[in-house]
């Protein structure tokens, strides 16, 4: 077990969270069943036994992950282009357990790889998953990572993503969060090499008593680095969401550009969304912007569609799907992406997903 204590909402990074409800001691260690789908040549670069570098833990969950995690490691060779996405699916069926997954991606110089990681649990699995993801993009490497939370409505997630980019690398980090009871992700990118760029794009949609919680960091630690973040969320019924994001431009990161946009739709009176953007800029000669909105569906848009004879609930569905399409259209083309749009649609109609 850990020597560290559970965090509390008094810590800024846990503010608004439901950490106070967690009784970690009541969970025993559980196991995810993990499946990797990839073409045979891509499968050779996936392993579950490699020694990977130890990780600096920021809190008890990362520390416990370091002790107990089930590892998936992916390493590309120099100049290797992995044509088809590698799809990792984790499934949890049990209640009363905590399960730790760790994904380490080492994209070697000028290589290219796309990885999709899906988290699925049965509807009544009252458990906790703690995923940790480390992505390292070497010089000129191109990494696309998609995390999909399709957890059951009783499952908690407390997750960590860190993506580090070297010179002229490109990282695209996607998140689609539809499931979970309380589902949290700390998503950080760090641009360490000149000309590195990162995109972070997320869709989250909570209904009933769900809560989605995102803490993002765009950390610029080299000149001429570029980051762009777009997080779009919706809350329905009595659901909640939190987005807090920080852009940090370090002193040496001159001529960098960083953009951050967080948009939230509140679809019911009882739903609640919080959005807190922050900037921390230690140098001049940079271009930064952030925008954040929280509010119901635009009344003019609703009226426009209704004035065409479209029923209010259909008009709402069109507007919300349109809102999320900006994210869905950027995801890699995979058969189950269309299914995600159906899941969003089903949630809007009030059907249990």
């Amino acid at each position: 077990m850990s020597t560290l204590a559970l965090p509390t909402v008094d810590e800024e990074i846990w503010r608004y969270s439901r950490i106070g409800e967690l009784d970690l001691g009541s969970f025993k260690l559980g196991k995810l069943s993990t499946k990797v789908d990839a073409l045979s040549d891509a499968k050779q670069i996936v392993s579950s036994t490699s020694k990977v570098a130890a990780r600096t833990s920021t809190d008890i969950f990362e520390e416990l992950n370091g002790q107990h995690a089930q590892l998936t490691a992916i390493a590309t060779a120099k100049n290797q282009v992995v044509a088809e996405p590698i799809v990792i699916t984790h499934f949890l069926d049990e209640s009363g357990v905590v399960a730790y997954s760790r994904l380490v991606v080492d994209a070697n110089e000028n290589s290219e790889v796309t990885i999709v990681e899906r988290f699925v649990s049965s509807a009544n699995a009252k458990s906790l998953v703690v995923p940790v993801v480390d992505i390292r993009a070497s010089q000129s490497a191109r990494v696309t990572y998609v995390a999909i939370n399709e957890l059951g409505a009783a499952t908690w997630q407390i997750g960590y993503q860190q993506a580090v980019g070297q010179r002229d690398s490109t990282m695209q980090m996607f998140t689609v969060a539809l499931g979970g009871d309380y589902a949290r992700m700390r998503a950080e990118v760090r641009l360490e090499g000149q000309g590195a760029s990162a995109q972070q794009v997320a869709l989250y949609f909570a209904d009933e008593n769900q809560m989605h919680d995102f803490r993002t960091l765009q950390d610029h630690a080299a000149p001429r680095t570029h980051s762009n973040l777009l997080f779009k969320g919706a809350v329905k019924d009595t659901a909640k969401s939190v987005y807090t994001g920080l852009i940090r431009i370090r002193e040496n990161a001159t001529k960098s550009e960083a953009f951050q946009t967080n948009r939230n739709l509140t679809l019911s009176n009882g739903a609640w969304a919080e959005s807190v953007p922050n900037l921390e800029i230690e140098t001049n000669d940079v271009k930064c912007s952030h925008a954040s909105t929280v509010g119901p569906i635009d009344e003019e848009q609703r009226f426009y569609l209704e004035s065409r004879g479209i029923q209010p609930e259909i008009a709402e569905r069109l507007v919300v799907l349109g809102f999320f399409d900006e994210v869905l259209n950027r995801l890699p083309a995979l058969p189950f992406i269309a299914g995600l749009r159906e899941l969003v649609s089903a949630k809007l109609l009030g059907a249990k997903s």
Binding site: Q301, L318, G322
Partner: protein, 242 residues
């Protein structure tokens, strides 16, 4: 034959009375122009007829073939046969014209099998770039493209009565001519009744009014034939104010 009967309509917005007493009867195939100076209540009339939130009817009645329009929610006013072309059509990010029209036809229990070619035909007819059909409704459209898009929708949905709120604002002459001509054609082809709300008479070159009504201070103060529009061109509205 459809009849839209507006009787003694009174409407307030944000607590101020904007329309005091408006009565108009519009039949299929007829074009009624409601003209008036800025602030007369023209746009309030169109918004109230369509049930826009914030427009409170304080008196009078509106009936479409005997059906109490004011008792219906907006979408049912549309499926009953009313159609509003907005002065400033709203941008709907992420929603394609095809999907919006498909939902609108579904609500009318109309077949959508040939929707795509129907839209393409109507778009071509008024020189609306068919590539815009696959873009989000009105997003990044020019003023002219928005009004052409509105007109395509009218042609696809085939309402009984169309309300044109300042069709002539924010668009170029070519677009105005194409849109006005399409509505004029609809009065013959679909027997469309039209309530055209405008400040100027320039769109009457294509869309010929049968009746012209002057609205000032929330009241219809004069109704006559098309010659009234010509008179207004010379005298302006000052003779009818106060």
């Amino acid at each position: 034959m459809t009849i839209l009967e507006i009787k003694n309509l009174a409407v307030s917005v944000g607590g101020s009375q904007i329309l005091n007493d408006v009565s108009l009867t519009i039949k299929s195939g007829e074009v009624h122009a409601v003209m008036g100076p800025n602030g007369a209540g023209k746009s309030t009339l169109s918004a109230a007829l369509m049930g826009k939130p914030g427009y409170v009817v304080t008196g009078g009645s509106v009936k479409l073939d005997g059906v109490d329009v004011l008792a219906l929610p907006t979408w049912q006013r549309a499926t009953a046969g009313l159609h509003l072309i907005m002065q400033y059509p709203t941008e709907i990010p992420g929603v394609m014209l095809q999907d919006a029209m498909s939902a609108a036809l579904d609500a009318r229990k109309r077949d959508t099998t040939n929707l795509r070619s129907l839209i393409a035909t109507e778009a071509t007819r008024i020189s609306f770039d068919t590539e815009l059909v696959d873009r989000a409704v009105n997003v990044d459209f020019s003023g002219g493209e928005k009004k052409r898009n509105e007109t395509v929708q009218l042609a696809v949905l085939q309402p009984k009565i169309a309300i044109l709120d300042e069709l002539d604002s924010g668009l170029d002459i070519d677009a105005l001519r194409d849109c006005a001509q399409r509505v004029e054609d609809a009065t013959r082809e679909m027997n469309l009744g039209v309530l055209v709300i405008t400040h100027y008479s320039r769109l009457f070159e294509q869309l010929k009014p049968d009746f012209v009504h002057i609205l000032t201070n929330g009241r219809i103060v004069k109704s006559a034939g098309p010659e009234l529009a010509d008179e207004l061109e010379v005298t302006g509205y000052s003779a009818y104010s106060n």
